[in-house]
């Protein structure tokens, strides 16, 4: 079953980029096709980040353990769309003007935030292979917690990008907060339940 579903999921995850490429050649991306490409690649990067972050909560809440087998693929698609999004900035906004890019990134908080979110995903994508998981051992998990920081930066990037913060950026911020909040709640609960490390009992 997994042999069928996983390739299908992979193809489905490519649909947004296929739609964009089709649109470029068909001229269906509107009056500002460059902006459509930037908005869509950014949105899909954030959507896949959210999906990746949802894997663990879904597994813990439902006991549906096979979902973990999709986590790496989802994370790599987040990186894939983030790369396209970053490339669109380099090519469509700056047209390879590296001097302007170096000046622009630190000067504009929303770009710096997006840039940070992207850069943090690079080590995670690189160390996503079985070999790196083995080599890093326990440190692998610690390293991959960077996705939390990346997701927070990506959300702030979205909020700071828009001229008036309503609608979608707020929705994404709420979802990311819920997914990260779940982890905090889970670890607090685990700590309380762990024998020998319980919170000192009050006089009872």
């Amino acid at each position: 079953m997994r042999r069928i579903i996983k390739p299908l999921a992979f193809l489905a995850a490519l649909l947004p980029v296929a739609w964009l490429v089709w649109g470029i050649f068909q001229g269906t991306l509107g009056a500002n096709p460059a902006e459509t490409i930037q908005l869509q690649t950014g949105r899909w990067a954030l959507k896949f980040l959210v999906l990746t972050l949802a894997v663990t909560p879904v597994r813990r809440l439902t006991g549906w353990n096979t979902v973990i087998q999709y986590r790496r693929m989802l994370g790599l698609f987040a990186f894939f769309y983030a790369s396209l999004h970053f490339t669109s900035y380099i090519v469509l906004d700056q047209f390879f003007d590296w001097g302007a890019i170096v000046r622009d990134v630190p000067k504009r908080p929303f770009i710096l935030m997006g840039f940070t979110a992207f850069v943090l995903l690079i080590p995670l994508a690189v160390t996503s292979t079985k070999g790196w998981i083995r080599r890093l051992g326990r440190r692998w998990q610690a390293l991959h917690r960077l996705i939390y920081v990346s997701a927070i930066c990506a959300t702030i990037h979205f909020i700071w990008k828009v001229k008036v913060a309503t609608g979608d950026p707020t929705v994404y911020a709420t979802i990311v907060a819920a997914l990260l909040g779940f982890r905090v709640a889970w670890s607090v609960r685990k700590r309380i339940q762990r024998p020998g490390r319980t919170v000192p009992q009050s006089a009872a």
């Binding site: 009056a31 096709p33 469509l92 302007a100 000067k107 504009r108 008036v164 309503t166």
Partner: protein, 313 residues
């Protein structure tokens, strides 16, 4: 009487003669596009404006006029939603007839005008202007309208009138974007009196030879081609002469990002924006160098001589 007093822009001041002489070629192209759009059912609500007496092209020969489709499908008009398509989708709900414009404040003859009465005394002009959005994209748009100065003179502003404030219509039942919050509505904009009286400043009532589409600010909007697009208040219901600089909607929302003047300037880059270059739509790359005053410096620069444009942005 006022017709005679209305300032005229000699075309030779604005564009060189060879471009001016090619205007008919341009108009032919333009109407072709407009009829194309009409055939596609996109402009059924628009009526032709037959009495356009002047055609003034202010852009260079290599600057192509944007298609009717581009100009009417990619708009910032947050009262109808924040997506660029939202105004095209929802602006049809706005009832633009009848329409009254109140002109009041520091003037000798305040009055409420039916829009027909306001426009009728003047000759309609086609003005092909660059349109530069603060979001670093630009278009070339064939507006139809009358100089704002003609209308302002009707009201006879007093010596106290140093600024002019423009207010956009506010109709929650017809403007679905209002419910999601956003700016402090109604939308207001403002100009210094000399800017408002400048011959380039246009009260637009048409596009491509026809009445405006609602998403472009029908039935009457402001066009100030040397400033960022948001200065051009849409669907105007009130023009008020004031003695103090008005606090405009965007300045109120975020004074670090937006200034009162908001003249197009590649050297002034508030923290959110990089204005050094722009994307001329429908192009892909933001490689066009932004011009000071959007290329209208020769006509408008003198109004700002001695002003620190970095401070008064």
């Amino acid at each position: 009487m006022l017709i005679k007093n209305a300032p005229e822009i000699r075309a030779s001041e604005i564009t060189d003669e060879s471009h001016y002489l090619r205007r008919r070629e341009f108009i032919r192209l333009a109407t072709g596009v407009a009829f194309g759009a009409l055939a596609a059912g996109k402009a059924e609500a628009q009526t032709p404006l037959p009495n356009i007496t002047k055609h003034i092209v202010t852009t260079a020969a290599d600057e192509k006029v944007n298609s009717f489709q581009d100009i009417t499908s990619y708009n910032n008009y947050y009262e109808f939603g924040m997506g660029k398509n939202d105004p095209q989708r929802y602006a049809g709900r706005l009832k633009i007839s009848p329409w009254t414009v109140k002109i009041d404040g520091a003037c000798a003859k305040p009055a409420d005008y039916h829009i027909e009465d306001l426009i009728k005394p003047f000759e309609l002009e086609e003005r092909v202007y660059r349109h530069r959005c603060v979001e670093a994209w630009s278009m070339v748009i064939p507006w139809v309208g009358i100089p704002l100065a003609s209308v302002l003179k009707l009201a006879e502003p007093t010596s106290k009138a140093t600024f002019v404030e423009f207010t956009t219509v506010l109709r929650p039942t017809e403007m679905p974007g209002l419910s999601s919050g956003g700016l402090n509505w109604p939308y207001t904009e403002g100009l210094r009196l000399d800017e408002a009286m400048h011959p380039l400043t246009l009260l637009a009532v048409g596009l491509y030879g026809k009445t405006l589409m609602n998403q472009n600010g029908a039935p009457i909007r402001l066009v100030v081609p040397w400033k960022y697009g948001f200065k051009g208040a849409k669907s105007i219901v009130r023009i008020r002469f004031v003695s103090k600089m008005p606090v405009t909607s965007w300045v109120e929302e975020n004074p670090d990002w937006y200034g009162f003047y908001s003249n197009v300037n590649p050297n002034v880059n508030p923290v959110r924006w990089d204005q050094s270059r722009e994307r001329r739509l429908p192009g892909f790359f933001a490689t066009r160098k932004t011009e000071l005053f959007n290329g209208y410096g020769e006509q408008v620069g003198s109004m700002y001589s001695g002003m620190d444009l970095k401070k008064f942005y």
